[in-house]
Symmetry: D2
Subunit: 361 residues, 4 copies
């Protein structure tokens, strides 16, 4: 259950304060040129300490590749990789050995496994997403050759919500501010809010939106492996995610079919297109060639610097106040993770579509 | 990709206007007493023609079991079953052979497969959910012995939204009205709305909420098989679903961590409990022993009786107006499907938890 | 665990004396022309009562297709099918309810499941292979278009062994005798032996050999999904199989590397070929374009008409003598089952190879 | 396809001359005490250079654990590990970049992937089995607590065959000679043969036998996941394996059912036992509580120091003579690999049996 995907697969390992985070990428198409600076840049977008809005833990997050790459290209064999943990302050967690932090996984891990590595949340730490970003970078490199592009951005922090449709946004502005919101005005409001929240020792939730462009029609499975179900499953596997919607999403339930249906028309190039795209690029679980877009809800980070009530493993009620280094809002660092998971799903479904095509023979 | 689950698995088959819908349930624990009237009742809750709010297609939806049951009990071997299609009016669809109905899967199926059974939507028809309801009934029968109960209900139709928390609802009223909303007042408003929409020849969306009670702490996988990701994947595999959220969901992003965290306390029985349950019964992907609750968004049904624009397979733009029999709002019939999928996931995770427990030895 | 395959998958169900044997074929490429008489002919090759060498149980073994086929072609959606049991003499088994037949699965099923359908061996009956023959027929139809041909034959019954290499055999003679041995002289010896054994009320083992021609180079996975491992797994899943070897097999261990290595050479067409084929068409788990050949060992049928010692479920030692209708030697009816499983594996690996090829984009 | 197992799973990575061989063990039960010296000893049994009968490549084969272990116990989370390659002489392989070594995977890898890491066979090297031995050691540690013991030994080298049944062997002698044959007389003959073969610059095949003791009745799946099929699949995934047989195997086909059936009897402890064990501890795919035993055929090593004919990637015929360091016979080093794969299968099926048992509830 630490493996993700059908054909393109990531098996992930590692705890927050263990030796390393790492993974094995299996099923990566052979012959992909490996751009290590691109991969490192993706990791840098996720890594802690990149701005004053994120945790001050400082990790180089340099990836070491151990297999599956030869003379600068993927070989089709599994790509093993590790990212060593270098800045773990495990002593920050000494007092947490016997305490269940509220809304963390401490209690449930102990119930499931009977024992746990309490340091930094162990396996439940979002540090595990390092492995996903690496695997996602390979998926992006593979998808690039056919013009598929995946872009995520922060669309909500607390009550500050970017309501413009993605088609009106300038994604070149995405990395111009530390919250990764492509609307400068909203971005500033979000930054201000996070700074305020941080000063309070509190945390706040948010939403990451994502657009996948260039996916051809015909990818996805009709019943249980619907493309949007795979994307939803992927997003819900990211730490702190509480919801997923695509296309019209939850808001669309208020409308009539006659308002929400996407009329087909003949495009100038002769192909079939849709006039609106309320479907979000997927119909009946299968891509229709339009942009795929979806939204992912992140709860406020559970670690905050105010006193909370909890119990210890012996069942004693005790007050608890977190120490250590944590993010006041997770969404800006979640943006590359959402992109990575989306890229992995899209590539996996490209390969599944190939399997169906029965081309070899 | 027509198989769902890890240990408890449903493989589903069948088209809307083919010979039969059916499935194979694999991994069902042996020795479960098979209550055929219960199974039929679950099917009746899903079947068409049960009220004036649903399609007038009339199907007996009687299930025939072909294997895996001996002397009234499950044997642990696969349970094959079929439900014959008896009331298919395939001629209603003759004119659809070459037309892409807007916001249906006609276009994407043809792109994926190169050919398709156009009659009644073929495999993309919600009639496929018959198989899920049968499998879900077995999951419910297996879960019942440990007191796990799964209840879904309609919480929104169009803009009419039931905002009461589920704990204030009387689920005994669930089947007392045709929309399956346990709040009689809201139910009537929903019914009125659906009747109005139906008269217009239009359709409307809605939301189904679901609660799983009695799930013990410790079920779920920590990274890629998170319990809520499995539930989300399950729900997003249901026809017309556009979104999934659990616990605080999308609404929770507006709040601070100090407002949303669930403080632990010592319950009177000495066990660890939470004062609030914003987490929705799952923390770090693993159940914590509290109620699991989530919401599922259904778009308005794509088939409506107003003229729409579309194209045919040759790329010609043509007007289109549906004939045949269809639901103006899908949520009331989706309620048992949501329950069925939830039950399948919960039982599957119970069995996975057993695998981890390493009890046999 | 009643599902076989990665992309092309069979999920099988049904007991020997239940309502029906059936299955669901998932992942079958769309557009394959369905030749129902071919499928029935494959079933006829497997069915009981086809000669005096086989059990006298008479089953029409007519298959009913329930989905996945439209206007004579596969649609790419799951193909559900059933074959009803019509000639089950369950009363033959009344006395077996509480007895463990020697070398049958009665004891182990009860240990595993805690209860069992004892009639005719229930799920452990070789009657289950009906579903495999149907699925194998679809695989053969799909493979035929690229010239891949799979032929199995009886190469040993008891001590009577056909030692000629397959390349010297005339496969057109395969169906000319009831043991399916393409060497008429050996065939007659085998038939004589089986008749003698049958008169004794005893049974005898045998070997089925199989050749797959036309498989291109490059199919198979390098480490855990080696093509020969998949074939071995497939063959070992057939009832009564005790061994699998491919290429030089067990006999080859006596030789030196210099005797067994297959020297490469340039074929007249410029392609790379091998002078010998001790490797059996697979090197490093991947097909090399040569014929794939392997042998499968079947034990003597466990049901025989001599008195044996056994115990009942209460642990009492009792004598036991089988009644009913049974095969004195299973190999002639196993030939189409071996072919079916081989065809399923080869097609599955064709589709996996497509997935790797990453052609769609 | 670099992942093995259902619940207990190994994902393996690494090339012979890459940075490292490694893997991720997923699904290992939590709380297992990790005996690092035992793991290292298992690796030492497999490693090159351990005697004059094996390749002179010298690797420390020291394993570094990166995750999944806390305070000396498994945590239930994935165990990432690496073994660095330190003694790779890649220059030995410079001349092999464009040559297909006979009966190696060079040609098939290139056909499959379009490119390959030619150094030392890359991913097709038996060096990959390092990862399996590590994972197998964990499986053994988990199985030990319930008294399950897995022992493999060399039973044949070339034509020298140990025909004594395993029950007459003294396994304490297993490590007393470098071929790992527990019969000292046969061992010496095998050693002499290998030395002779080595002097000739040639190689020879052999057979490894394996016994699994203490497996309780009821493990295994009835149709496609038969316990012996899983074992066969596991063994056939090991480099150079050409055949697998269990219980009576290929030899048993010559016998009558009345000779081969295992009569049940009431054991002194009141349980059901068998007087003979021709079934090899598995009936109908499910363990019956008796010893499980099987044999695995290994071909002669393909790398030998005599001139052979081959072609290069351009299709030119050229003579070829291997340089480098290689084993004249692989079986002694294969013994721990066979044990490791068997242990992984048995533990996996223990956990699957738990899943069926539905104990949690």
């Amino acid at each position: 259950m630490n493996t993700f995907g059908n054909i393109f697969r990531l098996t992930s390992f590692g705890e927050s304060h263990g030796e390393a985070i790492g993974g094995v990428i299996d099923g990566c198409p052979p012959g992909i040129i490996v751009d290590k600076s691109f991969i490192q840049n993706e990791l840098n977008r996720r890594k802690p300490g990149q701005s004053h809005l994120t945790t001050s833990r400082r990790e180089a997050d340099e990836v070491e590749f151990l297999s599956g790459i030869f003379e600068g290209r993927t070989t089709g064999t599994p790509i093993g990789f590790i990212v060593r943990n270098t800045n773990a302050h495990s002593s920050d967690y000494d007092n947490l050995r016997d305490i269940f932090r509220p809304s963390h996984a401490d209690y449930t891990y102990l119930q499931k496994y009977g024992l746990r590595d309490h340091r930094g949340g162990g396996r439940s730490s979002a540090r595990e997403t390092v492995a996903r970003v690496v695997a996602g970078a390979f998926a992006k490199m593979a998808l690039k050759k056919s013009g598929i592009e995946i872009v995520a951005y922060t669309s909500q922090v607390g009550a500050i919500r970017l309501d413009k449709p993605y088609s009106e946004l300038d994604f070149s502005l995405l990395e111009s501010n530390p919250v990764r919101c492509p609307d400068p005005e909203k971005a500033q409001q979000m930054i201000d809010l996070i700074e305020t929240i941080k000063k309070e020792g509190d945390t706040i939730g948010g939403v990451v939106s994502c657009v996948c462009r260039g996916v051809p029609a015909g990818w996805g499975e009709p019943v249980f492996g619907k493309l949007h179900a795979a994307l939803g499953n992927a997003m819900l596997s990211i730490n702190a995610v509480k919801g997923f919607e695509y296309g019209m999403g939850f808001d669309g339930v208020r409308y009539k079919g006659s308002e929400m249906n996407d009329a087909f028309y003949r495009r100038p190039d002769g192909k079939t297109g849709v006039k609106t795209n309320h479907s979000g690029g997927i119909q009946g679980g299968i891509s229709n060639g339009e942009d795929i877009y979806f939204r992912v809800a992140f709860k406020p980070v559970a670690t905050l610097f105010k006193e909370q009530q909890t119990v210890d493993v012996a069942g004693n009620e005790i007050p608890f106040k977190a120490a250590g280094r944590h993010d006041p809002c997770v969404v800006s660092r979640a943006v590359p993770v959402v992109e990575a998971m989306a890229a992995m799903v899209i590539l996996d479904y490209a390969l599944l579509a190939d399997a169906l095509a029965f081309n070899t023979m």
